[in-house]
């Protein structure tokens, strides 16, 4: 890969590493399925310890929240021409229906607009192949080039 290689292509090659480098993504067992320009697809498998409702055995909505947030962040990053720090401004999620028990959840995110400072991202979560029947929908905004010095959070706020 040379310097002309778009950032998203480098990310696509390093997809597995991006999850390995994010402890919570690793803890949930997230898998990057694909990264293309301004788009990302990430999956998480159903697991006993991720259940949110013991009566139904359905995966917790919090897992879907984290998956959607993560996938939106990757899509925003994949819309950049050079890496910069990002910070989530807001995240809105509609949960249309519970996921099917034991189903893998797939999140598909698209950064449809990138300004100098803000990335606007939309995403859907699915528990099957039917694109007309999503489990959840998300809308997120990210601040690009946020002040993110390495180790900044190791000290308490002033």
């Amino acid at each position: 890969m040379n310097d002309e290689t778009p950032l998203w292509q480098k990310m696509a090659t390093a997809g597995a590493m991006m999850i390995q480098g994010t402890p919570q993504a690793r803890a949930l067992g997230m898998r990057v399925i694909s990264i293309t320009e301004a788009r990302a697809v990430v999956e998480v498998d159903w697991r006993e310890d991720l259940v949110g409702d013991p009566e139904t055995g359905v995966i917790a909505s919090g897992v879907v929240t984290t998956l959607l947030d993560n996938t939106c962040g990757v899509a925003a990053f994949a819309a950049l021409s050079e890496p910069m720090s990002t910070a989530t401004l807001d995240l809105r999620i509609d949960y249309m229906r519970p996921a099917k028990k034991r189903a893998t959840i797939r999140a598909e995110a698209h950064c449809y607009r990138m300004t100098k400072t803000v990335a606007f991202v939309r995403a859907f979560a699915f528990d099957g192949d039917d694109e007309t029947d999503p489990v959840a929908a998300a809308q997120a905004a990210f601040m690009m080039g946020a002040s993110g010095r390495m180790g900044k959070n190791r000290r308490p706020p002033k």
């Binding site: 402890p23 917790a60 807001d90 509609d94 949960y95």
Partner: protein, 153 residues
């Protein structure tokens, strides 16, 4: 206040904790509950696996969202006097600061407890309650009324 219970509810911390302990995902995150009177605080003790940005380092935004969502669920459970676990319909999260690698706290306020829907606001903080790291506003479906939630005809 319309819809809010006029008398104190009779759910104690044991009942609340039992409800929470039965939720595997709450255990996965490590969320704990504290109840003083009717004031409920959810605590998320820090652990490395909660990190989403290892450079800063910062808590995963999804984790902070999930903590606030669980706090809302517990607060509704309390306000209802303990029934079934409510189901989230939608949430809107504002991220105000990145979550530092320390313990996080959250408290929820049920703005309206209707027959079928609860409207809830939650704030999460770390060092200073007056300086929250995130806020959530959401709607939840009260499951005990689920059978009648579907419009007839």
């Amino acid at each position: 206040m319309s819809g809010a219970p006029a008398t104190p509810t009779h759910v104690d911390l044991n009942e609340l904790s039992a409800m929470f302990e039965a939720v595997p995902y709450a255990k996965f995150l490590g969320v704990q509950l504290e109840l003083k009177g009717d004031e409920l605080t959810a605590i998320l003790p820090f652990k490395d696996s909660l990190i989403g940005n290892p450079m800063l380092p910062a808590l995963h935004g999804g984790v902070v969202g999930a903590l606030m969502e669980l706090t809302a669920v517990a607060q509704i459970f309390l306000a209802q006097g303990g029934k079934k676990i409510p189901k989230v319909i939608d949430i809107s999260i504002d991220y105000l600061r990145s979550g530092r690698p320390v313990d996080t706290y959250a408290r929820a306020h049920v703005t309206k407890l209707g027959r079928r829907i609860a409207n809830v606001r939650v704030e999460a903080w770390q060092f200073d309650r007056a300086d929250p790291i995130a806020a959530l506003h959401g709607h939840f479906l009260l499951k005990s009324d689920e059978a009648e939630a579907e419009p007839k005809g």
